[in-house]
Symmetry: C2
Subunit: 210 residues, 2 copies
């Protein structure tokens, strides 16, 4: 976790990233123009072009910005109970509870699905997605390993379980977006928590259900 320090961004770059988030929610990835981003803050298109040569550069920087935001919150939780940490991570990734509201979170994830679909054709996206995935994977696996060390979780393979958790979360998002059906994420969340309680949490320890 230690080798991913928040990138050193200027205030303008931070403003561009926040504007990119809003523009992605509003217009989606395919219709994300520099004008659409410039419209979301009080600078001109020239400022965008000064900082980022191409849309691909800007989007790759934006993916890094998402990682920094995730990492900033993951750090806060670091000394909490592993059960709570795991549940917090799953909740955030499945429902974006840190986002202003859930509906804008799904607008955003809809745009992100298009960016993901572009990764096989855009090395800069793939590299940054791999870095983000690696960080989240390490966070989940580390949380599971802590729980095992503390005797709260049964013996398990933290790496493999983290892969399962990230697959499940990503697929719930994808299916929810493709089908426009909130039941997908709701049911997946319930089943995942039931799974944690049945398989991961040692008999006698409290389950994950709040």
């Amino acid at each position: 976790m230690s080798d991913t320090a928040p990138a050193d961004r200027s205030e303008t770059q931070e403003a561009i990233m926040a504007a990119t988030y809003r523009a992605l929610c509003k217009h989606g990835y395919a219709n994300l123009t520099t004008q659409a981003i410039a419209d979301e803050f009080d600078k001109t298109k020239a400022v965008l072009h000064y900082h980022y040569d191409t849309k691909d550069d800007l989007l790759a920087a934006f993916l890094e910005y998402l990682l920094d935001r995730f990492a900033a919150h993951a750090d806060v939780d670091h000394h909490e109970d592993p059960r709570k940490r795991l549940l917090t991570i799953v909740d955030r990734l499945l429902f974006g509870r840190d986002a202003d509201n859930e509906s804008s979170y799904w607008e955003f994830q809809t745009a992100m699905l298009a960016v993901r679909a572009q990764a096989p054709y855009t090395p800069a996206y793939r590299e940054q997605f791999a870095e983000n995935y690696g960080f989240v994977h390490e966070t989940v696996a580390g949380t599971i390993a802590d729980g095992i060390d503390q005797g709260i979780f049964r013996d398990a393979d933290p790496e493999r379980l983290a892969t399962l958790v990230l697959s499940t979360i990503q697929g719930a998002r994808t299916n929810r977006i493709v089908l426009d059906d909130p039941a997908v994420t709701k049911e997946t969340h319930e089943a995942l928590v039931t799974y944690f309680d049945a398989v991961l949490v040692r008999d006698g320890a409290d389950g994950l259900v709040e």
Copy 2:
């Protein structure tokens, strides 16, 4: 399962669907032109336009064709042991073992991810994806319910578990494609089978691991 009869397609339409599959593998969704499809079989573009007005129509028909292919194989398995049926479905969806070879399966899934990302903007795709999802969901839930009825599986909520399974499979595919990392599907498969054995299969019954 009974209300999804294979669509009544002409030989030409079947040939167009097979050519679409090959063209998607080769060119991806963004570069899927009628010429690219026509190049994959011995007809002209005019034949394509005669059968399908637009690229969207053709792709929606193609999604239906995928459902028919899935349904044709799902029927064969219907009287097998629920453990085997579940494993067969998971294997097929995760590794495309019915496909000619696994590498072309991932080329195909890469193209399909782009089609999925388009679903929020193309009602015909979303509707057909919903029908396909519903059928696979029913197949998985029905298999789990059969296992429970036969006393092989523990008591569980088949619908919710099916949602979990489909989320997990879809996310493993998405992450594997985005990251270009076969370990994602391999580890997810192992963890899912471990999960089935730990949670679903009743003590004393044989597990799913072959």
